[in-house]
Amino acid sequence: MKITLPIKSKDEIKDGKRILAYGEKEFELDMSLNCQMRWESKFPEQAGKEDLISYTQRIHTVLETQKNLNKLTAPFMISMFKTIYCYFDTDLTFVQFLKLFDFSSLEYTGQLINKIKEVFEVISSEASEKNS
């Protein structure tokens, strides 16, 4: 399944001015056991304490209950990105993945978080009815 996220396509300083352009990037959503394997290989310390499903559910619950998305803290945002990163079949490292996004614009960040919320909903709804 493909999922598109808003990314920054250009971020450079030209003649003392910051030029920022936005675009979209398609990611392949992989919800098989491979995402748990990615969790274990990319974040071994956390994987030793908690499996990806429990982590995802915990983050999703906070995301669902938080009414004002602009109030999300930086550590929570990183946790949110860690989670979706494991569900994406990508060759990017986590730092490269984070660098795709811009957190300086409130409007863009709002759009991005809403899209990420959708990703979490897809992850939970794609399981069999009895398990989702």
């Binding site: 919800m31 098989s32 056991l33 995402c35 748990q36 394997m37 274990e40 994987a47 499996d51 990806l52 499903i53 939970s124 794609e126 399981a127 069999s128 009895k130 398990n131 989702s132």
Partner: protein
């Protein structure tokens, strides 16, 4: 052993192909397999204890059994 490998091991032992299955469904399947295995073990332990005490089987008593006492 990483959790993913333990899951693969449990599913392979039960003859389930995990490829393409959703991670939530896999987790649910693995826990079902573990519950089944635990039930089987309890049943085997029960039978073992019974055979150690010389009991071959346990069945409901009939009226004839009471009369024969």
């Amino acid at each position: 052993m990483p959790l993913s490998l333990r899951y693969i091991q449990a599913l392979a032992a039960a003859g389930i192909d995990w490829h393409g299955l959703h991670i939530i469904d896999i987790t649910s399947l693995v826990y079902s397999i573990r519950i089944d295995n635990a039930r089987q073990k309890l049943e085997m332990d029960k039978k073992k204890r019974m055979s150690e005490r010389g009991i071959k089987e346990v069945r409901k008593a009939t009226e004839a059994d009471f009369n024969a006492l």
